[in-house]
Structure formats: C-alpha cells, structure tokens
Amino acid sequence: AQSVAQPEDQVNVAEGNPLTVKCTYSVSGNPYLFWYVQYPNRGLQFLLKYITGDNLVKGSYGFEAEFNKSQTSFHLKKPSALVSDSALYFCAVRDLQRGNTPLVFGKGTRLSVIA
C-alpha cells in the first residue's frame, strides 16, 4: 500500500532563512511524488512533482524538492523563506505501477515564516 509520512506538524523559520519540509514515502513500485500548498480557507495548489529524470525538481514560488530513492524521501526546500510562504504543505504519492490511482496524502506540515 502507498503511504506518506510528514514527520513534522509544524516548522518555524525566520524570513530570509532556508526552509525544509520533510517527506518520506512508501510504495511498492516507482513513486510519483507531489507537493501541494494550502493557504487559509483555500483549496490545494500544486507546487511541484517528480516522475522521472533529475532528482532535483523545481516548482512554483521558488520551491524545489529533491528525490532520494535510497532514503525514500522527497523533502521540500526553499533557499530563502518569505512570510507569504506561511501555509499548510502536503506531500503526496501515487504508485506508477498501479496506473491512474488517486493520490495518498501526508498529514501536512504547517510552515510559519516569522518576519
């Protein structure tokens, strides 16, 4: 079965500092990985995805994520955090071997960027 773990409920970072939001996954086949962001009272917005190719994926708003197969991780990163990045971040996975299946989401990590 597919699963995603986001070990941190909350991440606090000062504006201008680098940020990392952690994600590890478990699938039986090859993973299809996503990061979504949810701002207050809004739906989910797509940030970035990994299918194949370069392990470092660049996405919206200056975010990037690194796929690490040996550690089964897909941590979200940004070199310099903005206060406007404060939101709820979800990592999600789909098993490519299982065709067009829905995504399984992590529990979410609340990012708070402090000015």
Partner: protein, 114 residues
C-alpha cells in the same frame, strides 16, 4: 490546467439534513475524486466518481452516507446524508488530468453541521 468550480463554497447545516455539493470542470476528465479534510487533518479519499457507473468507495465510506453522481465527464455531485457534527469538514473535488499526470483541486466546500 483544469479549472474546477465547487458549490456551495460553505454552508451551515442542521443535524439530520442532507447537502449536495456540485463539482464542475471546464474540460472532460476521466478521473474525478472526492476528498474530505476534517479540521486540522490531512485529506482522506472518500471515493472515485466513475462516469456512467457506481462510484468506488474507500474503506470507511459507504454509498448510503455519501451518494455520488457522475452523469458526464465534466460534472459530479457528492451528497452528505443525514449529517451529524462529525461530518463538519471541507469536501474537495479533484480531477486527474492524465496528460500531465497532475491532480487538480477545487476550492473546497466547507460544511459546518450544528
């Protein structure tokens, strides 16, 4: 990218009543899903809405409680039946755009059951 409209965006409902949420997509999509996000929680898949056939429900969700319609490739409804306060959640419609392999979400419908 697919544009998804959900109605209502929010509602306050009385215990024991039912509410139907509508999801309209601006393009034809094969895969449509309904998720629930309870307060402070992650997203949980309720069911896959299949066009022309019965929805496929995940463990813990049943058709009597969450009947789903999918009359065509651009529209689906989710009904939350006989509501109780535990049903207070955000309900999200999503579609898989297979050509890009991405899942797009509506803005969600925030239900509060009193």
């Amino acid at each position: 990218s697919a544009v998804i409209s959900q109605k209502p965006s929010r509602d306050i409902c009385q215990r024991g009543t039912s509410l139907t949420i509508q999801c309209q997509v601006d393009s034809q999509v094969t895969m449509m899903f309904w998720y629930r996000q309870q307060p402070g929680q992650s997203l949980t898949l309720i069911a896959t809405a299949n066009q022309g056939s019965e929805a496929t429900y995940e463990s813990g969700f049943v058709i009597d409680k969450f009947p789903i319609s999918r009359p065509n490739l651009t529209f689906s409804t989710l009904t939350v039946s006989n509501m109780s306060p535990e049903d207070s959640s955000i309900y999200l419609c999503s579609v898989l755009q297979a050509s890009v392999g991405e899942l797009f979400f509506g803005e969600g419908s925030r239900l509060t059951v009193l």
